[in-house]
């Protein structure tokens, strides 16, 4: 019983416990996920557009992009962006200024870019599938009504597309949430990294990593509830059988 009490005390807020550190880490994990989402969605949509209605070159680029970023381990993509980005910035700097001050690549930004690229490769496939849900007749009808291509996209395609894509995107979000843990490898103090630091001091690995896992589970549960809510709201206009 004492053991359990002392373990719980380790999670206390303030200087004596690790509660606030782990909470801060959780905040970074969530922030990274939320920051990656719009970037990954936008890029994924553009890639999907390229694959769906682009020319030969655009299609080839889209397919290559998808193959590469779905095939590489996320950890490797992250390290390439982080270290390669560093190198790239240094070289560009060396070209521009005589005696460059070294700029550090921010681990958060590197994580956001890397995870966003992986996310976009997967989400472009989801969008591509969603495009198939919109029948050609609708496009023809909107053209017949004199809507331009851009207006057709905005008024006819997009409002349906995002509903069709929602389940797939929701799935990708749950995966993204787990993948944010990889940024702990490049020393960003996310949930897993702060747990790691706590373990280094307290020598209680099992307890702390279990707590971290449970926090990830809670984040997933909250996400699921949120997703359910969004899906119900998105489909509020749909007539359901038996309703």
């Amino acid at each position: 019983m004492d053991r359990i009490e002392s373990l719980i005390q380790l999670l206390a807020w303030g200087p004596n416990g690790w509660g606030d550190e782990i909470a801060a880490g959780t905040a970074i994990t969530v922030a990274l996920g939320i920051a990656t989402l719009p970037f990954g969605l936008l890029l994924g949509f553009l890639i999907a557009l390229a694959k769906h209605s682009g020319g030969r070159t655009a299609r080839m680029f889209g397919n290559l992009y998808t193959t590469v970023f779905r095939g590489l381990p996320e950890l490797l993509t992250l390290l390439i962006i982080y270290y390669g980005g560093q190198r790239l910035i240094q070289e560009v700097q060396a070209l521009l200024v005589e005696d460059p001050e070294p700029i550090e690549v921010n681990a958060f930004v590197a994580g956001m870019v890397a995870l966003g690229m992986v996310f976009s490769a997967y989400s472009s496939e989801v969008f591509l599938g969603a495009f198939k849900g919109i029948t050609i007749g609708q496009i023809e009808a909107s053209r017949a009504l004199g809507l331009s291509r851009l207006l057709t996209l905005r008024l006819v395609v997009l409002p349906q597309l995002w509903r069709f894509a929602l389940p797939g995107i929701a799935n990708l979000w749950l995966i993204l949430l787990k993948e944010t843990s990889l940024v702990s490898v490049i020393a960003l103090p996310d949930l897993l990294r702060s747990t790691f630091i706590a373990v280094g001091v307290t020598k209680e690995p099992f307890f702390f990593f279990l707590v971290a896992c449970l926090i990830y589970l809670v984040l997933a549960m909250i996400s699921s509830i949120g997703i359910g809510w969004i899906e119900r709201w998105a489909n509020r206009g749909e007539r359901r059988a038996g309703a």
């Binding site: 590489l72 381990p73 996320e74 490797l76 589970l217």
Partner: protein, 278 residues
Amino acid sequence: MTTTPHPEAPPTASGFFGEARTGDLVALALAAVIASLVLSDWPVAIGTWLGNDIFVRYWPRLAEGLGVTLQLVAISIVLGGLLSLPLALARFRNRGFASTLAYGYVYFFRGTPLLAQTFLVYYGAGEFSDTLRGIGLWGFFKEAYWCVLLTFSLNTAAYQAEILAGAIRAVPRGQWEAAHALGLSKPVAFVKIILPQAFVTALRPYGNEVILMIKGSAVASVVTVFDLMGATRLAANRTFDEQVYLWAAVVYLLLVETIRRVWDLIERGLTRHLRRRA
């Protein structure tokens, strides 16, 4: 009287893979390239020719790492597959201890990051070193390699259980009824009628799981296992040269593409009885 229609052309003789296509040759060629990366040192010869010292020095480590990655993935997929069967079966019970346990297991391993699970097993085991020494398991848990293998097996078991459960559910109910009508007992019907059909449905998701495992196995490098990723990070840290990451990227892409194509080939072979003959 109507003329008799032409009889359909007789089915052409076909082997295990059905009719050969150029894609098959590509798949087999890719597989040969991957195998030769581990077994022979032609990349070193090319590196020497190009005068790339870093490549010549570190490629053998990367090739060894590739072997470790393949080993890790192959063993954990098989062990996870064995573990997934009882898990999938337990998920079919409506209530009871086994069903709750299986649900919790699958939920935990699918809902948390593989990296966190690896830390939990690897560092967590260290905390129980005295107990583990007592029961003679410390030799197993002190090696990062075995810890990672255990974690990966437990992780993929959860995913495979979901795949298998879904595939079993997808077998039409009539198959059960027909088996029953033939007098087969439930276990026999399951093993001989239901499971083989479920496996065919599950082939594609299983292939995806293998690829996800190859990508996921890169986290082994974080706990000092020298798999392909681990060897790459070692080489990059020692040479301060990021080009090593790009070689690793090429190898991973080759590997994933090979698995995808070879898996397609196997799937075509195993489902050739389901295809309509042209």
